[in-house]
Amino acid sequence: MRILFHIGRYFQLMGEVFGRPERLGVYWRRIIEEIDLLGVKSLGIVAMLSAFMGAVIALQTKSNINSPLISDTLVGFATRQSTILEFSPTIIALILAGKVGSTVAAEIGSMRVKEQIDALDIMGVNSAGYLILPKVIAAVLIFPFLIIMSMFLSVFGGYLIVAATGIISTSAYQTGIRMDFMPFSITYALIKTEVFAFIITTVSGYHGYYTQGGTREVGISSTTAVVYSIVAIIISNFVLTKLLLA
């Protein structure tokens, strides 16, 4: 029953977030700040993880090919496919749920316990909209760039490990990554990314906004925000895959 209560209150909050916007000029500055905080500050970790991920996929694929009948181009092909379809959009979204989700929930949660949200409400500001909407817009704008970058770096990571270890020839890898390319797979990945960006910011915003108590509870909301975001991402990933690819 607890979950139904949360779902109801979540949608009610979303009504407020998207209900009555404050002045555009005010939002503009907040969106820029959030793009920096949520997007630019995640570049490093996303870049590093992606390159390593690509390298691991390439190594794993090669070490699992036993039959001489399977061409080495499969290594490049498999790296590209798993990167675009799942690793970049989903795994990176899970990483971002940890990084961005906890930041968002902790920031909004500490504003709640320090009565700063009450202060906004008293002034007549739509506090839910003012705090959460810029984060949602920022994430929806910047996450696709992070994911596209992640895709390139992952495939490039595979290339580097192939070049460094010589497990297959670099030309076979290059042929592999160009094989049977379906542009729709990129669209599919970006649709997922936008949904995940929305989930991470709104679910974490929700948990921060309804924090009750003191600093200890801020920590708890921040953890809960990450857990709920991850669960929501995994479930919606399944639903989207079924809808878009099946």
Binding site: E22, V26, I122
Partner: protein
């Protein structure tokens, strides 16, 4: 003028406020006093509409707040300034940005004029201009309260609510803050409600005092009458400290 009529509030099964009625007049310091946990903050939050009471109403110059339309509520809120128990300044904004915040959200001023207005408010609460660019975490608690007051008066409010404006401050700074609030109230004819459990500030600035005990209004009057009360709960509250007991003795009581 703010009128509270038959206000009751409970959380779940705990009744916090029971049938409170009071009138808060403009141009003077209206104080709500009572022990910790008596429901003062809840009353303040009901008055400004952060809590919705189960029964009763709050009238802002005749406008019943909880019955207003959303836009009208917003209108009234822009006429209310509030100073929170913990100042509630925005951490990510500098001192001057905090004061400019309500102007930026609702004002119709040019950016230059907004800055001027904010500087004026900060000057009024005696914050030196070189502090304007600091963040709230970089100034002392007393200064935070003053910046909180500056932010509360930025929009030239008709109503000002202060929840324990001098909690956590030394007695000297407390009196400075109390007097500042009293001056502003008189200067602009604001309807000011100060929540406090500090007898010093009651004796210093309380004009119209309301005593709350276990969620009920037990007493209302001026500070002179307060000293001669025969209400047992109020008497226990007023003469809790050794200092006040000595005052009583000196008065021959």
């Amino acid at each position: 003028m703010i009128e509270v009529k038959g206000l009751s509030k409970r959380f779940g099964s705990t009744q916090v406020l029971t049938d409170i009625s009071a009138v808060f007049k403009p141009g003077m310091i209206n104080q709500v006093i009572g022990k910790s946990g008596s429901g003062k903050s809840v009353l303040a939050k009901c008055i400004v509409g952060l809590h919705v009471p189960e029964e009763g109403e709050v009238l802002y110059d005749g406008r019943s707040f909880h019955h207003l339309e959303k836009d009208e509520k917003r209108q009234v809120r822009q006429e209310i300034g509030m100073l929170f128990q913990g100042s509630a300044l925005f951490d990510s904004l500098t001192v001057i940005e905090n004061v400019m915040f309500p102007l930026r959200m609702f004002g119709v001023m040019e950016p230059g004029a907004m800055r001027e207005r904010a500087e004026l408010c900060l000057q009024r609460v005696s914050i030196e201009p070189e502090k304007n660019k600091l963040f709230p975490s970089e100034i002392s608690g007393g200064m935070q309260k003053r910046v909180g007051i500056a932010r509360a008066i930025a929009m030239q409010p008709k109503y000002l609510l202060c929840d324990e404006p001098n909690s956590g401050l030394d007695p000297q700074t407390s009196i400075v803050i109390d007097q500042l609030i009293a001056e502003l109230t008189e200067e602009y004819g604001i309807t000011t409600i100060v929540i406090t459990h500090d007898m010093n500030s009651v004796m210093e600035t309380g004009d119209n005092i309301i005593f709350i005990h276990e969620g009920r209004k037990h007493w209302q009057g001026g500070r002179e009458e307060l000293l001669h009360t025969d209400n047992p709960e109020l008497s226990a509250f007023v003469y809790a400290s050794g200092l006040m007991k000595r005052v009583k003795k000196a008065m021959g009581g």
